[in-house]
């Protein structure tokens, strides 16, 4: 039902994969680790975006293409300088194409503890139209 549109190389880090491309902000863009689960009522998506708060997420759904973006505010502990690094702070971006119709008006999104939870309810299916074939 879902398919990853943008393919990028995997790299190390905490669930964050390789950079998608350059941004004008000069930060790397990561492809975040994602869970997608389909239930009867819809699709639930969980995206790991450490360092991203509720207000830093941008979600768009256009023609069944779902784009998730998270902007991370870079933080340096006050009075400290970086001595050793295993991860880099950057933005997150991932694009999925959805095969089912989604009830766009009822999409729910919440960010908690650096994880974006998205609930995409399925739209009411269009009723199949039966065409009777009459004998001549």
């Amino acid at each position: 039902m879902t398919q990853d549109v943008v393919k990028k190389n995997q790299s190390q880090g905490n669930g964050n994969a390789e950079m998608a491309g350059e941004t004008t902000r000069g930060h790397p863009v990561f492809r975040p680790f994602t869970d997608i689960c389909e239930t009867e009522g819809g699709v639930v998506i969980a995206v790991d975006m450490p360092g991203v708060g509720q207000d830093d997420v941008d979600i768009t759904l256009e023609k069944r293409v779902l784009t998730i973006r998270g902007r991370r505010q870079r933080k340096t502990p006050e009075g400290y300088r970086l001595a050793y690094a295993e991860y880099e702070e950057g933005d997150y971006e991932r694009v999925f194409s959805l095969s089912d119709e989604i009830d766009e008006a009822n999409i729910k999104a919440a960010v908690q503890s650096g994880v974006l939870m998205l609930e995409l309810p399925k739209a009411e299916p269009a009723k199949p139209k039966r065409i009777e074939v009459k004998a001549a």
Binding site: N14, C37, D48, G51, R81, A83, Y87
Partner: protein
């Protein structure tokens, strides 16, 4: 001679050759790890950044989806252990997984710090899935400036 920076760090063996400590850290990281079966594919979970302050060190780690209560931090001498677990999301019986990339399970990571730290004054904060631990060097271990008297 402008070859050497003149900060307080140059008097400290750790900061005189920070790479030695980093290499040691890296080795620790590579070895001290978590069973792979825990679900984490990386060599080290969580990924950790280390920051140096004047008489302290700060560690930041990415732990998205954890609750503060799920994270356990232990400090002894110059060893820091972070452990915790993230449980798999609960879904109904009829649910179908399309993509499962987010790791779940237990982790534990032991990190050797560049100096002994004061276990009493360790501070830890957790915000937006990022853990920050601040560790102070005990006052008696701090480098001391020795005045040279002229004869």
């Amino acid at each position: 001679m402008a070859l050497y920076p003149t900060s307080a760090f140059t008097r400290d063996p750790f900061f005189r050759d920070p790479f030695a400590a980093m290499r040691r850290l890296q080795d620790e990281f590579d070895r001290a790890f978590v069973p792979r079966s825990a679900g984490y594919a990386q060599a080290g979970f969580p990924a950790v950044n280390m920051w140096q302050g004047e008489h302290s060190i700060a560690l930041t780690a990415e732990l998205p989806g954890f609750k503060a209560d799920d994270i356990d931090i232990q400090v002894k001498e110059d060893t820091l252990t972070i452990s915790g677990q993230r449980s798999a999301p609960e879904v109904g019986e009829k649910a179908v997984w399309h993509l499962r990339e987010r790791p779940t399970g237990k982790f534990a990571r032991t990190i050797r710090l560049p100096f002994r730290v004061d276990a009493e004054s360790v501070e830890a904060r957790f915000r937006d899935g990022v853990l920050e631990i601040e560790l102070q060097r005990p006052a008696e271990d701090r480098p001391r400036r020795i005045a040279v008297k002229s004869a």
